[in-house]
């Protein structure tokens, strides 16, 4: 079968789609994660907490699929990335999985008994279920930017030489906190559109204000840190962007400052960091002017901008190796075969619009703010 798009184009598309999936995940599931991480602080009474939970309840299952789909799509389109990152971040991944398992269970089971001790326990489970993934994702991204301690042998088997605690370098801790702030900002912003006016909404505003400021400062700090440190890698010699997916064919070397190369060559890419900086400020304007839509637009801009900045800064690198740069995974050496990328693109083009359409429909059916009154009277509510 003749494939209408060449290998390089498909790899580029799939690199971008990986970004779209990450952003889709953060925009949808990030809302639930952020709200869950706020649970013990944003609702003071059981009814307030139930209102918050029911603002997410009809959607979390759909949102979580972005995570599953992200995993599946990386497996299908970037099997190397899937294999190296998840086995490398082994214990960190376990923490994320355990937290993500705890979260839906908490939503569902919390309401089954009225006992306050039972409910408080699930509130903390929700808190962990929201905070841990947000933090670990950010820490993981920080580590990727610095380069991971892995190497590949001649059979392309991956060996990882880091530890769980080794992940928490000062830079990675900062990116972890940035991730938490960004997700909390988005969660608080989204929540403000889904619950009634009142004390909970006021708390969401206050928390949103703090999260916006922290996001802005940490993102700016991260930029300076990357620019002034030893971070960065470059491909040496001729780049064979159509070649077989074998990292051993494309040598790479550490190159301090290389993470800024792309912005010099393609100034339009600066849009991403600008969006990342402007987003929190727009959200602040929204919170101040009590416009929830501007608030949500701001937090979404921040999310898109920050994630896109990471991807564009590293391009074409996806997972650079700090201990053996030769093993680094890039957009040109870590993808699936030409045919698989093409088939998966067709499948995505058919099904993603359908998914977006019915997700929007589901949102519309459940449109409207959840109120304390509904919590008291609706038997379907958690």
């Amino acid at each position: 079968m003749a494939i209408p798009l060449d290998y390089e184009t498909l790899r580029l598309i799939w690199w971008a789609l990986m970004g779209v999936l990450l952003i889709g995940f953060t925009l949808t599931d990030g809302y639930d994660l952020g709200v869950a991480a706020l649970m013990p602080f944003i609702g003071k009474t059981d009814e307030e907490r139930r209102m918050v939970i029911n603002a997410i309840a009809p959607h979390w299952e759909g949102h979580q699929v972005w995570f599953i789909l992200g995993g599946g799509a990386i497996f299908a389109a970037w099997p190397f990335v899937y294999a190296v990152s998840f086995s490398g971040f082994y214990l960190a991944m376990f923490l994320v999985l355990a937290a993500l398992i705890l979260r839906p269970v908490s939503f569902k089971y919390r309401s089954k008994h009225a006992d306050p001790a039972w409910r408080t326990r699930w509130d903390w489970a929700l808190f962990i279920g929201g905070l841990v993934p947000a933090l670990v994702f950010g820490v993981a991204v920080g580590n990727v930017l610095q380069g991971l301690p892995f190497r590949l042998d001649s059979d392309l088997r991956a060996f990882y030489e880091g530890t769980l605690l080794g992940l928490f370098s000062p830079f990675a801790l900062m990116t972890g906190l940035l991730s938490v702030a960004m997700i909390v900002l988005h969660g608080a912003g989204f929540l403000a559109t889904k619950i009634e006016e009142g004390p909970v909404l006021e708390r969401a505003r206050r928390i949103g204000t703090a999260a916006a400021l922290v996001s802005f400062v940490l993102f700016a700090l991260g930029g300076v840190w990357v620019a002034t440190s030893q971070m960065g890698f470059r491909i040496e010699g001729i780049v064979d962007s159509m070649g077989p997916s074998n990292p051993r064919y494309v040598p790479a070397l550490p190159a301090p400052g290389a993470w800024l190369d792309n912005y010099g060559q393609h100034p339009w890419m600066l849009l991403a960091p600008i969006l990342g900086l402007a987003g929190p400020l727009v959200a602040l304007v929204g919170i101040r002017s009590r416009s929830h839509l501007i608030n949500l637009a701001g937090s979404s801009m921040a999310t898109i901008g920050i994630i896109a900045t990471v991807g564009l800064s590293m391009f074409p690198f996806i997972l650079p190796s700090a201990i053996d740069p030769q093993s680094s995974l890039t957009a040109w050496n870590a993808s699936s075969s030409h045919l698989t990328l093409w088939i998966m693109l067709l499948v995505t083009l058919i099904f993603l619009p359908i998914v977006l359409a019915y997700t929007a429909w589901a949102m519309r059916v459940m449109f409207g703010r959840v109120t304390i009154e509904q919590v008291r009277t609706n038997p379907d509510f958690y």
Partner: protein
């Protein structure tokens, strides 16, 4: 490879997969039972069917959430614990998993929220459509997972590429329409339908025994009896179809299930009892029904069912042929265009996986002695006694369910479920479908050993380069987390069942469905 890492990785995968599959069958079956019940509500407009649908929907919800939550682990475990496997076959295996997310899981997960929260916001038909989408989504999800699993059992449509050191897809249609996958899919979802039918029968029977909610229970039982009878027939027929498919690509599995050490003259008999003894390669105290196995496995009176020992000899041959391919791949690593190596690789690439079996005994398979080659060939025999017995338990239960539902169907029309002994049986057998289903999975996966992907990649090579302590940490972590959740889940199920189909608040349709205590929520029949 550190074999302890491999064994622990297998243990963890088995634990998490089997735990996940405690919840999946009920989701698969109950979702369609909900569709049937709600359809009756929409067609007849009788309020009681709404109560029935909502009651089973509540139990569905408690179960569904754990199925979803534990499914996340499965999706990532190929990367965390089987990273070389993920690299080696991700080009093919990743696609069905991704498509599952995109096409099936999104559908079920998005609509399940509306199913629970949309009763007041959707029209009757609209809500039924939503319930149908949940059922469709969860069953499509099973389809893609079984396409992935079917490929591991029969790796069609792919070939090894020495330039990337992995399997790559050559023909996506063969992956999709893999006969093993198709038979497995119908067999597995039907088993889920049986499971849900037994569950609904059992819980309803308990109500009838207690004299509670009888009008809900009786109606539920009628639906479950009909659905269960059709499904239990389908499970056994499609199980037989899987047996037939086996003869083309997994003769060893069939021979192991039958404890057939030597090829018999066609048509072979089917052993219904025996004690397989691997040490002397003999199945003692065998009771055989003549002709039946030959008929099932080959659909003919002349087709031969090959025995284990003959298959080992064949494996020995394939290992030797695979060594030539292995040698060629090693040469191609350093000289990408070496035409001689390329040619000998092309000739022997079918058997490359067999050469890799030797890595268990020798770092470079090309240095293997005849003795080691024979050991590797013998490794292709799965655990015969376990296979032999698991199959008999699973198949026996399959036939038992047909009998049970036939009886239930008869009871529904003749005695209105008045017979106490029948109701007691229905309650007692609730756990049996789970036993049959978990047994079936163990059979399928143990039967594929020593392969992760039949003939392509030995299981022990697929594991990640982890340490024993890392895996112990996660095994203990998952066991604690899953154990706690299992206790909570079962308690919630039981308390929901004890509470019965009570609706606490008057909802949009008025107050006539309010109920309390042991009184049925609706006027008598």
């Amino acid at each position: 490879m550190d074999m302890a890492v491999v064994e622990l990785s297998r243990l963890q995968f088995a634990l998490t997969a089997m735990y996940h599959f405690l919840f999946v069958p009920l989701t698969l079956g109950l979702s369609f039972l909900l569709v049937i019940m709600e359809s009756i509500y929409v067609m007849t407009g009788k309020e009681i069917w709404r109560v029935i649908t909502r009651f089973w929907g509540k139990l569905f919800g408690v179960n569904f959430v754990l199925g979803v939550a534990t499914g996340i682990t499965m999706e990532f475990e190929f990367g965390t614990n089987w990273s070389y496997y993920a690299h080696y076959v991700g080009d093919i295996f990743g696609a069905p998993l991704a498509i599952e997310g995109l096409m099936a899981f999104f559908l079920e997960a998005t609509f399940v929220g509306l199913m629970f929260f949309g009763w007041d916001r959707l029209s009757k038909v609209g809500h039924l459509a939503v319930t149908f989408c949940v059922a469709l989504g969860s069953n499509l999800s099973a389809l893609w997972i079984l396409i992935a699993n079917g490929w591991m059992q029969n790796p069609a449509g792919a070939t090894f590429n020495p330039e990337t050191m992995r399997m790559e897809v050559t023909d996506f249609y063969s992956v999709l329409f893999n006969p093993v996958a198709q038979a497995k899919f119908v067999h597995t979802v039907s088993a889920g339908y049986v499971c849900a039918s037994v569950f609904v029968m059992g819980v309803s029977a308990w109500y009838l025994l207690k004299g509670k909610w009888t009008n809900v229970a009786r109606r539920s039982m009628v639906v479950a009896a009909a659905f269960g009878l059709a499904s239990s027939l389908s499970v056994v027929v499609l199980g037989d179809e899987s047996g037939y498919a086996l003869t083309d690509n997994q003769k060893m599995k069939l021979a192991a299930i039958e404890g057939m050490w030597h090829t018999e003259e066609a048509p072979a008999g089917l052993a219904i009892f025996g004690i397989p003894d691997p040490s002397v390669q003999e199945t003692r105290f065998e009771i055989k029904i003549p002709y039946v196995l030959g008929l099932i496995a080959t659909r003919s009176l002349t087709g031969e069912v090959v025995g284990i020992n003959e298959l080992v000899l064949k494996a020995d041959e394939r290992i030797r042929s695979g060594l030539i391919a292995y040698d060629a791949v090693e040469k191609l690593k350093f000289q990408r265009t070496d035409p001689v190596a390329r040619e000998s690789f092309e000739k022997h690439k079918r058997d490359l996986g067999y050469a890799m079996l030797l890595k268990r005994y020798v770092g470079d398979p090309r240095q293997a002695t005849d003795q080691q080659i024979l050991m590797a060939a013998k490794d292709t025999i799965p655990n015969v006694p376990v296979m032999f017995w698991l199959f008999r338990i699973m198949a026996g239960l399959g036939f038992f369910f047909i009998g049970f539902f036939a009886l239930a169907f008869y009871c529904a029309s003749v005695c209105q479920f008045e017979k106490k002994w029948f109701l007691r049986v229905a309650v007692v057998i609730i756990p049996l479908p789970w036993l049959a289903i978990e047994g079936g999975w163990v059979l399928a996966e143990i039967g594929r050993q020593p392969w992760a992907v039949e003939g392509v990649l030995p299981t022990f090579l697929g594991a990640s380069s982890l340490t024993v302590s890392q895996i112990w940490t996660t095994i203990i972590g998952f066991t604690l987390l899953y154990g706690a959740l299992a206790v909570i889940e079962v308690r919630l199920m039981l308390s929901t069942i004890r509470k019965g189909p009570v609706e606490h608040h008057a909802s949009d349709t008025g107050s006539q469905i309010e109920g309390s205590g042991g009184i049925a929520p609706l006027s008598a029949e």
